[in-house]
């Protein structure tokens, strides 16, 4: 034991000396001999640290500076080809310098100390990386990127064969002088060289284990750009084709790209193979990784682009369904819901929710959004969150309800969707939405997405039904039903023939939506129409039995309303000519005979009149006008010249109204306005003059006036009712806060058939108005009546 130690000792120290000398001197002396001696003594592991230090020294002193200066060597005037050559040769020099060291058997075979987790060669490579790439070098990155881009385009050019899907396509063909791959005149083409250089570089980098560090970034950038360009070209603004399918279908394109990647990483792959299955970076796994990356890039880029375009996609919805489906697929793979929500909200706000957009257009987009977003996100969270601003905004528009109701009844020009949606309405599914609270299997429960707005309603309540969503803008159905009643009343009163088939259908459909009880009033209205027709029939029949001289002076028929069930009709004063009054009296008389203990109260200003006007040289036939128009012209029958005052007195109607109504007859060329506000009949108006009249744009008031009081008028009435309560309360309680008044009103004010919630803001506005009118004093948050009262 002892003797053998001493004999070896001698050679061990010798060996140690030679080894350290070799390591310290820049020239590479053969180490292997002394190393084997050291190894035999089991002390070579102590050399490891030494060796690493030596490597580090040599690197920082000579190799790294040499590399950088090699890279910078050529001045800027060198062309791309030259730069590529320099890049490769710089790495080649690096390899040449380091290779002898790395090739030392010490790295290859040295057993790392048991305690060290990484092998010596790994540590050596780490040192190389650290020293070489310790500071970010834009120049290197730039070069590498340029080199890879070039080789990529060359590769794609070669593989693509038939003209290429490469990013720089389009250069071939006409511009035959340039090589499509390397973008230099064909005679100087260095495509082949580039590919060879690629192979070499990959090989070198792989040997140095720098491949991933040097090239990943460039490759990522290239792929990113590539996909972006491809997407820009193929699917920006194109929503009617599924690009996703396209992307996956054009597999050969993908394969081509992967083929290039294989070239880039080939050496690494080989190494991986040679290192056996245990290697974390086997050939296929590297490629698989890149394939995953590409897919991820693709999804993210796609989502980014679609998020930008989402507003347009929504606007074109039924046509843009493929785009929505693609987006849905990709969105599930990227974490960009929040981005989507924010961007969509902003888009809505800037493009839709401003005074320049017509309410019906907003509604149309909202409906599309509902349809599109429920496709995109079945949990409805995106819909709920993104459309919140729309709903909020629509609430501020006065005509929203009217537009929705018009849409529902199919009157609106823009949104026919609503009418079809209404008729599509499936009561069973509606019922389900209302009632199944615990109907579903607990196993199928899925939690809300994280961006869901926490509210008590939960996912069950998050409806996707378009009509329910629209109706819920205001929170209550009543306001819609009231509006619908008003619309229905208008339509019925403008009917000439009592035909109600369409209205009956609508009411039935709405009944499915809103429930029987809410539509009750409308049903009575429709029944009134049917009853009126029957009563008219009866009256006609009775009249026909009369003698010639007892025949009514004027063919009168009536729509007889159940006043309690119709919306409040506008009260307007109008004195009809005696002949009409007489006819109405007769009609009332017959009605009273028909229905005991009941009578009629006529609304002279409502209805319609069909008449002929016979003038000396012409006849206007079958003109349908309003009663006031008819009354005016009937007066002119008795006396051919009237002043505005006289007419107004005769009709019992305000002057400006009469003035407006006269315009129709002026336009018809029947009446003429003369100086001093007098109107006279034009018995012999030449057609030429009539034409001129026609051209003269008189405000003819031809738009169909609504016969029902508007929403705001009704509100006003209600507020007046409240005012009485408020006065009474303040008389008793002296002073009250706004909230107090509001809660008191809610408690005490009985609500009629027209139930409308009044919110605090509205009440405040009303009270403020009263303050301005000096009917109320508001100070320090409390209201009181003026002292003088």
């Amino acid at each position: 034991m002892e003797s053998s130690d001493s004999t070896l000792n001698l050679s061990l120290s010798e060996a140690w000396d030679s080894a350290t000398k070799a390591l310290l001197s820049p020239s590479s002396l053969p180490l292997s001999d002394s190393l084997s001696v050291l190894r035999a003594h089991g002390v070579e592991c102590y050399l490891g640290g030494f060796l690493l230090e030596a490597l580090q020294m040599r690197l920082s002193e000579s190799v790294v500076p040499e590399f950088w200066s090699g890279l910078k060597l050529p001045e800027n005037d060198v062309d791309e080809r030259g730069r590529a050559g320099v890049l490769v040769s710089a790495f080649q020099t690096l390899l040449d310098r380091l290779d002898p060291l790395l090739r030392e058997s010490l790295f290859g075979s040295a057993q790392a100390p048991v305690s060290a987790p990484v092998s010596l060669s790994d540590r050596a490579h780490t040192v190389i990386r650290a020293l070489l790439l310790s500071r970010p070098c834009p120049e290197l990155e730039e070069r590498v990127l340029e080199f890879y881009s070039r080789t990529f385009s060359v590769y794609m050019r070669q593989e693509g064969g038939e003209g290429g899907e490469g990013p720089e396509e389009g250069a071939d063909g006409q511009e035959g002088a340039l090589c499509a791959g390397c973008a230099v005149p064909t005679d100087q083409c260095w495509c082949r060289e580039a590919l060879e250089q690629l192979q070499r570089l990959s090989h070198i980098l792989c040997k140095l284990q720098l491949l991933e560090w040097v090239s990943s970034k460039a490759v990522t950038q290239i792929l990113h750009k590539l996909i972006e360009q491809r997407m820009e070209r193929h699917c920006r603004g194109e929503y009617e084709r599924s690009f996703l399918m396209d992307f996956q279908e054009v597999n050969d394109w993908l394969e081509q790209v992967l083929g290039w990647l294989r070239k880039v990483f080939s050496s690494e792959a080989d190494r991986g193979l040679s290192m056996g299955a245990g290697s974390p970076l086997g050939a296929s796994s590297v490629l698989k990784q890149w394939r995953c990356h590409m897919h991820q890039f693709f999804c993210r880029i796609y989502v980014n682009m679609r998020i930008e375009e989402l507003f347009s996609i929504i606007r074109d919805f039924p046509e843009s369904k493929p785009a929505i489906e693609d987006l849905k697929f990709c969105l599930e793979r990227t974490n960009q819901r929040q981005q989507l929500l924010t961007s969509l909200k902003t888009a809505f706000e800037s493009r839709l929710l401003h005074p320049g957009v017509h309410t019906s257009d907003i509604l149309t987009v909202y409906i599309s959004a509902i349809k599109a977003l429920r496709e995109l996100d079945p949990s409805m969270v995106i819909l709920q969150v993104a459309c919140q601003p729309i709903r909020k905004y629509l609430r501020t528009r006065e005509d929203t309800v009217r537009q929705i109701v018009a849409g529902l009844t199919g009157d609106a020009e823009g949104c026919t969707d609503l009418a079809s949606e209404l008729s599509r309405g499936d009561p069973v599914t509606l019922e389900l939405q209302e009632s199944d609270e615990e109907g579903t299997d607990p196993e199928e429960w899925t939690p809300d997405p994280t961006d869901a707005v926490p509210d008590k309603s939960g996912p069950k309540r998050r409806s996707s039904d378009i009509i329910s969503l629209l109706v819920s803008i205001y929170g209550s159905k009543d306001i819609f039903i009231d509006e619908y009643r008003a619309v229905l009343a208008d339509r019925l009163l403008h009917q000439l023939n009592y035909s109600t088939a369409r209205e009956i259908r609508n009411v039935e459909l709405l009944k499915l939506r809103f429930g029987e009880s809410h539509m009750h009033y409308c049903e009575v209205m429709l029944k009134d129409m049917a009853d009126s027709r029957r009563i008219n029939g009866n009256v006609r029949e009775e009249e026909s039995r009369l003698n010639k001289e007892e025949q009514p002076s004027l063919p009168l028929s009536a729509i007889i309303l159940s006043s309690e069930f119709w919306p409040t009709l506008k009260e307007e004063k109008l004195e009809l000519p005696p002949v009409v009054n007489r006819a109405m009296e007769e009609y009332t008389h017959r009605y009273e005979k028909l229905k005991a203990m009941r009578t009629l109260s006529w609304k002279p200003h409502l209805g319609s009149v069909t008449l002929d006007v016979e003038l000396e040289d012409r006849t206007i036939t079958n003109l349908t006008v309003s009663p006031i128009h008819a009354a005016i012209i009937l007066h002119f029958q008795d006396k051919s010249e009237w002043s505005l005052e006289e007419l107004s007195a005769q009709l019992g109607a305000p002057r400006d109204l009469v003035h407006r109504k006269l315009a129709l007859w002026q336009q018809q060329g029947v009446l003429r306005e003369e100086a001093g506000g007098r109107y006279s009949v034009m018995e012999t108006g030449s057609s030429r003059e009539k034409l001129e009249r026609g051209v003269m744009l008189i405000d003819s008031d031809e738009e169909r006036d609504s016969n029902t009081t508007t929403q705001s008028e009704q509100r006003e009435e209600k507020l007046q009712l409240f005012w009485a309560y408020i006065q009474a309360m303040l008389t008793n309680l002296d002073s009250m806060t706004l909230e107090r008044i509001h809660s008191m009103l809610r408690m005490f004010v009985a609500t009629g058939p027209v139930v409308t919630e009044m919110d605090v803001e509205e009440l405040e506005a009303f009270l403020q108005r009263k303050v301005r009118e000096h009917q109320l004093i508001g100070s320090a948050g409390v209201y009181r009546l003026p002292k003088s009262k």
Binding site: P555, I560, L561, W566, A583, M584, L600, G607
Partner: protein, 84 residues
């Protein structure tokens, strides 16, 4: 000038010829209907008593049915007799 009216479509609302607005029993307007009815008019008629008070027919019948001893007008407590 001669105006020939071909057709005059008027609008009127019907109402009961009664001395009050609302039914004394259900407090609903006469021109509406009693709480049990959906449709006013023929389907929910008024009746008059000899005391000249009138009610929705359904209302007064319900009232009379609930009276055990004597049938009185709920308004004036006179004996209820339908006016012929």
């Amino acid at each position: 000038m001669k105006v020939k009216i071909r057709q005059w479509n008027g609008v009127a609302s019907w109402l009961w010829v009664a001395n009050d607005e609302n039914c004394g029993i259900c407090r609903m307007p006469f021109n509406g209907c009693c709480p049990d009815c959906k449709v006013p008019g023929d389907d929910c008629p008024l009746v008059w008593g000899q005391c000249s008070h009138c009610f929705h027919m359904h209302c007064i019948l319900k009232w009379l049915n609930s009276q055990q001893v004597q049938q009185q007008c709920p308004m004036c407590r006179q004996e209820w007799k339908f006016k012929e």
